[in-house]
């Protein structure tokens, strides 16, 4: 009696570990597909942005948008449409969850001389130019929330490109305000914002 119970327990343990092993392999394969471009610790490798510490809901939404091809900038087309082609929604969620939990690391590659101007725009906005303060949605430390992305620590060139692309008419699948907001920003203001944000831990 005890022997059969012990046997059953052993069988379940073996099966469980085999399944766990399978899941780990699946996860690590999918993750490797991402880290080729996004960097071993998912801190980004130009032009691919950092994913570590990004908001889960934002990541999941972006993968869905790449899969649906509604996010249509040139690099999106070139790289992410293919990458997201065969992603199931479950797979996308798992990847988003995985990356959201990794510790972020600041790119630190902006122009240090522009940080002060970038901080002013980010924290206070420019009401006379009808430019909102990014802090209201993106948070005091640019960490984002829910579907609103973390901006803190992303690479200068990535942030600059994103802000410029909205003004160029690309659909970044973001909510309504971003295209309107970025169209009002001058090049100098974009450079300042991207610089400031790239240094935030």
């Amino acid at each position: 009696m005890i022997r059969s119970v012990l046997l059953k327990i052993a069988a379940i343990a073996v099966a469980g570990s085999a399944l766990a092993g399978q899941a780990a392999r699946a996860e690590s394969l999918a993750v490797r597909d991402c880290t080729w471009c996004h960097g071993a610790s998912a801190h980004g490798y130009s032009p691919a942005p950092g994913l570590a510490g990004q908001q889960f809901q934002y990541l999941a939404n972006q993968l869905a948008d790449f899969h649906a091809r509604s996010r249509d900038s040139p690099f999106s087309k070139q790289y992410m449409w293919g990458a997201a082609e065969n992603l199931s929604s479950r797979g996308a969620r798992d990847l988003a969850m995985y990356f959201s939990k990794l510790p972020p690391k600041a790119a630190n590659d902006g122009d240090a001389d522009l940080v002060a101007m970038g901080r002013t725009i980010y924290q206070e906005g420019m009401p006379d130019s009808n430019i909102v303060a990014c802090v209201v949605c993106h948070g005091p430390n640019a960490e984002g929330i829910g579907q609103i992305p973390r901006l803190g620590g992303l690479a200068y060139s990535y942030l600059k490109r994103r802000l410029e692309q909205w003004a160029e008419g690309y659909h970044a699948a973001a909510g309504p305000p971003m295209p309107d907001i970025s169209r009002k920003l001058s090049t100098a203001q974009i450079n300042a914002l991207a610089s400031y944000l790239s240094f935030i831990k």
């Binding site: 206070e124 906005g125 009401p127 006379d128 009808n130 430019i131 909102v132 303060a133 802090v135 209201v136 949605c137 993106h138 948070g139 005091p140 984002g144 929330i145 829910g146 609103i148 309504p176 305000p177 309107d180 907001i181």
Partner: protein, 236 residues
Amino acid sequence: MERMRDRGRRLLTRRGEPAPPTMAAVGSQWALRTAVLVLAFIGTVARAEEKFASRGSVQAKLSYCKDCHGASAQGYPGFFPIPRLAGQQTEYLENQLRAFIEHRRTNNVMFNVAHALNPGMVSALAANFKQLNPAPVGGAPRQLSAAGKKIYEDGLPDANIAACAACHGPEATGSGEIPRLAGQLYPYVIKTLTNWGKERGQNPAKPDTSAIMSPVAHSLSKSQIEQVSAFVSYLK
């Protein structure tokens, strides 16, 4: 001709008094007076124009407000909850913008925003927002609504809290300086009631209408605040 004019002047001049002005001098005096009047008039008109914002600038400013408050001013749960302005009572909105300008209501972002607004712009914006009527953004826990409805309609007599409906109206649409609550964001109403004394009526030398809500906000418990906030957030 000139001699006749000079003779006339000498006749009109009494001894010891200054000569009357020549025609040219009179003419230039009138010109000067007219100029002064015109300038004063233009000055008045220019000051009056400050009261009325031009349509183009109102549209630009509206679009700016909507960057945060939503394309139809329905509000947006950002990192900080951004309230619904659509359908809001104009008197309440104007009062709040003035309270931001005068630092009687605390909000770092709105300080900056409001300072850039002249009185004409304030009125124009409020009038525009009143016209909007999008659906509420929702998102509050629905199970809290029933308890919230009870508080809203009956008040809390044991805690000496009047029914919200008594002032805010049975449909929570408000009136005059009393704000509309219908469709307001759940996290925003919670934050507002919870932080009432810290955010509103910040100038004790200039008490404002926020004083009315102070005892109510203080007396509500955390769960009562959540319940009534959930209830109003779903009202259309």
